[in-house]
């Protein structure tokens, strides 16, 4: 297909503290007990995109992620894991791996994407429209994870939409305007020249940028070379390409026309109008995913909870497991005590044990957890090797590997870091708890 894929897998994301740790970088965070990165990799594999570069932040993360990938995908994918320093941004990461890029088009995917939108469709749209860049846009889920990173599900009272402002042409194929919600001030500013060139523009506030972009390699590399300041693909490179679509400074052939900066494009008056007008444009396109498709990014603690819940629930087909008649997934080796119930949309993995009279609803429980009697777990994620003693009550929380909850601990909307111990009878509400 002559497509190369760059997966931006990240490292120790600050937004996900305390869920991430030395042992558990962001790409390996479990979603229904599988690393989140596996969802992207399998999605790409399904579209026959097997030539991948996975970019992670930091050497140790690269080792961990590389180890996992080579184990899991040894003869399925051709994956190279590249480490880049932290804080170089996604654009910097692309620059770092630029010498590996040779294909005609590059697909850049965020490693935290959990979706069933086929990347092949995005790639095909990109080719079909001969675009400089094609972005995957998803219709924002009504109550799903919010686009904004900082807010943890509490911005319901907020009046203004934080979603992106996206301008499309009337066929909804071409992208005419993008602005991230947080960057838009009081007014939405639209370039008149782009509106004029397209007659009309549909401005949408309900589309989420899924961080999957197909770029023409030559154009991408030219932008990266010329604009050294550019830090992020979403915030710099992509908006820049959309903004300059009518006065393209990059040539389709990849060779800059006028030296390095290309800004001082001199106009030859004798050239016929149409030729100049068409020559100076590049196309920015959008692939808008069908409403029924699932598309979320794991970029906040709230999103982590939501995605885990969705993957064992309404978007169950993503998990790759088969559901039981009770609409849940209980590993055969899991042990349940008497009068213990595991509700629908739950997952209980290998070797975990539950005591008597427990109740689990809409939660994911990892491997080899030991859970005592009279424990209630609702709307939560419990990772591997967690010990929960009798009478605990856990709601809306995340409990990381090897954590220990002693008797009668009550947690509401908390995150318990790896290996953390909660003493008898302690109660917490809406707090991140982890070792310093």
């Amino acid at each position: 297909m002559d497509f190369q894929v760059v997966v931006m897998a990240g490292g120790y994301s600050k937004n996900l503290v305390p869920l991430v740790s030395q042992e558990m970088p962001k790409p390996l965070l479990p979603v229904a007990n599988r690393p989140v990165l596996s969802y992207v990799l399998e999605l790409l594999e399904a579209s026959n995109l097997k030539d991948l570069i996975v970019v992670v932040e930091g050497e140790d993360v690269a080792l961990r992620v590389g180890g996992w990938i080579s184990g899991a995908y040894v003869d399925r994918l051709h994956v190279e894991v590249a480490a880049v320093p932290e804080e170089v941004g996604t654009a910097g990461a692309l620059r770092a791996v630029a010498h590996h890029l040779t294909a005609k088009d590059i697909l850049v995917v965020s490693g935290d994407l959990v979706s069933d939108v086929p990347p092949g469709a995005v790639a095909a749209t990109h080719r079909r429209l001969d675009a400089a860049v094609t972005a995957l846009l998803c219709i924002t889920p009504v109550s799903g994870p919010s686009e904004s990173v900082s807010s943890v599900g509490k911005d319901k009272g907020r009046k203004l939409p934080r979603a992106n402002i996206v301008g499309l042409d009337h066929t909804r194929q071409y992208l005419l305007h993008v602005a991230a919600g947080a960057e838009v001030g009081k007014d939405i500013k639209i370039q008149k020249s782009i509106l004029r060139a397209n007659d009309q523009m549909e401005i949408r506030a309900d589309l989420m940028d899924a961080h999957m972009y197909a770029f023409q390699r030559t154009i991408l590399q030219e932008v990266l070379d010329q604009k050294e300041m550019f830090h992020s693909i979403k915030h710099d490179v992509f908006p820049y390409l959309v903004r300059t679509q009518l006065r393209s400074e990059i040539s389709d052939k990849g060779a800059p026309k006028n030296g390095l900066n290309g800004v001082d494009y001199t106009l030859n008056g004798s050239e016929p109008a149409s030729e100049i007008l068409t020559n100076r444009t590049h196309k920015c396109c959008a692939y808008i995913a069908n409403k029924s498709k699932y598309c979320s990014r794991l970029n906040s603690v709230q999103a982590f909870c939501d995605i885990n819940r969705d993957v064992v629930g309404e978007a169950g087909h993503l998990s790759g497991y088969s559901f039981s008649a009770q609409n849940n997934i209980v590993h055969p080796s899991a042990e349940l005590g008497s009068k213990t119930t595991v509700g629908p949309q739950c997952m209980l993995d290998e070797g975990s044990k539950l005591g008597d009279k427990c109740s689990v609803k809409r939660s994911v429980i990892g491997r080899h957890c030991r859970i005592g009697s009279n424990v209630k777990i609702f709307n939560s994620v419990v990772m591997n090797h967690v010990t929960i003693e009798d009478g605990c009550f856990i709601q809306g929380s995340v409990i990381c590997n090897n954590a220990q909850l002693q008797e009668r601990v009550v947690l509401k909307d908390c995150q318990v870091g790896a290996g953390y111990v909660l003493t008898v009878g302690s109660e917490y509400k809406s707090e991140p708890l982890s070792k310093k």
């Binding site: 203004l160 993008v178 602005a179 838009v184 939405i188 009309q200 401005i203 309900d206 710099d236």
Partner: protein, 729 residues
Amino acid sequence: MAQKKTHRTSSDDPEELTRTVLQAVLLADSFAQKFRPITLERPKVLLPLVNAPMIEYTLAWLESVGVEEVFVFCCAHSQQVKSYLENSQWTKQPGAFSVTTIESHDAISAGDALRVIYTHGIIRGDFILISGDTVSNMSLAKALSEHKDRRKKDPLAIMTMVIKHSKPSALTHQTRLGNDEIIMAIDPGTKELLYYEDKVDLSQHLISLDKMLLADKSALSLHNDKQDCYIDICSPEVLSLFTDNFDYQHLRRHFVKGLLIDDIMGYKIFTHEIQSSYAARVDNFRSYDTISKDILQRWTYPFVPDVQYLGNGLQIKLDREGIYKAPEVVQSRSAHIDSFTVLGNATTVGDNAVISNSVIGQGCTIGHNVTIEGSYIWDNVKIEDGCKLSHALVCDGVHLRAGVVLEPGVILSFKVEVGQQIVVPAYSKVSLLPQPSKQDSDEELEYADANTGIIESPSIATMMNAQKVDFPTSDADRSGTSEFYVSGAGYIWSSCEGGNEDEWRHSIAPIPADKLSESLLNAFADVDAPDQDTSCIPASGELLPDSASTVGDGEDYRDSADFEKEVEATFQRALAGVDLENVILEINSLRLSYHMSHADCAGALFHSIMKAALVPSYSSKNDLYANAVKEIIKWSDLLKHYLKTLDEEIEVILKFEEISVETAREFSPLFSNILSCLYDKEILSEEAILSWAQEKEGADESDKIFTKQSEQFIKWLREASEEEDGDND
């Protein structure tokens, strides 16, 4: 017209039990001057459009869509309009369709007109607001029922605007009707109008939409390809809104924009887009030309010359290739009439004349070997042999002598005569009436008293000379006409505001190629211009040049900088001799408008004073010091006005520090001297200086330069105050 009456009466809303009469308000005054000089003598609505007065098209359409009561508002030349209507079929015929005139002489805008209509209290329900120069054949039933349905659900939906697809040219930014491009934002679901910008400012590269527009909806569509038809279905509230907001003048610029911005009342405007039917308004000469052609090409059917609707009682015949001929045309065998041409009744065409794409009125005489192309010749025009007319508009009674050439875009008003072999330059406007001077630049007026403000005749003469026009015009004093009469009669009007520059935009003549290529280059400038500002901004996640600077501290800073500039400008005026009291008044108003404190005023003022001290040349420090002292003494009264409290005095010292470090380093060696001078002149109190020194004690070393410099002075002050304290004890 009887044929259309019958099928209309049945279309009334069946659900409406109390049937209201559908009313219309027809503005028989455009409140614009685009058709001058013609409109000095005849109101625009009575000007012939393909040999029928424009108002006929509008009235005929209103009748065809089931309107039963029309109020014709006349202002300019109201007598002419009234007498025309009295003699027309509209008032004579009995039946459901009634035409009533309302007259006002002091209305200068559509807003005024609607206020007058409101005071008459004649509008009882939804009505159609239309201007008397609109040509349309759309069916109103759907728009009307949409409007009524919306009204039932939401009483705030007070207006429905009719729009039509029309893409403005990318080069000239105007539609084929010669209107400026319009940018509209419309809710794709409800068709609510959210944003309206006509007279799009080309220098502005960005459209600003309020983010709140998207607060309760997920999408809106922005259109650059719509044309406003100026046909509005209004609810009675519209009239009262005009009355409440007495400053609304223009229907679009004030009323529509006013409603869209105002979110307190929450009134909503909706749009209705027509697809296949026709609606356009004769707004300028270019639209006159375009609409005439549309009528000839039958886009406006049934309102075309050969259908009996306009009461001219003549059986006009349509030949092949769109040639319309009235019965009594006398045409030479050798004359060649080309496609899309109308020949009016009793017109004679001489040998070898060539007429194409033109409209010729009644009773015209066209001589031999005349060429007429794309022109509009009204009634009783005499064109002698060998004339050449291209894209000209020639009014009633004009006499062109042999060999006259009218270049594209020429307008000849009533009864103008042009002498032999004269070439009238492109875009000239010639009238028997002299041009009123531009002293009342109130462009909203269609008519003006011909007696007031006439440009001095020499100016016409000089203009003529300057242009080297070989076209003598009659002088203002009619005594000397005989001499000029041989060659012609009329004044060449100098082009109105905007200059010759924009004449081509709204002219009948097609846009010349050189203008097109010129605007092509401009179009590139347009696209390129924002290049600089977008490429020079730091690429740190911003999107648009000013999105970042309008938030947070940036704005604050800019405001205060602006404020300082304003104060300085005011101060400059004070230097130029404006009264001190007025300066204080001005600064106070600036303070209020920028939300500044007295301290800011004092600081800014002090800054200006010190700047003024830098203006005279100085050779040494001592000179500069002397200058500064002089300025300080001179303005001490003004300054003291703002130094009422300690805080303000401290602000002045801080400001002084700031300027000595940043803008005017010349003062830094003189800091302590000037400080003591300020103290001597009782501008600053010792308390202020001491508390400033105290404040600075804890500061960085770099901040302490000036306290150190003034150490002695401060020490002296301290001792003095201690002594004083001691005395008091």
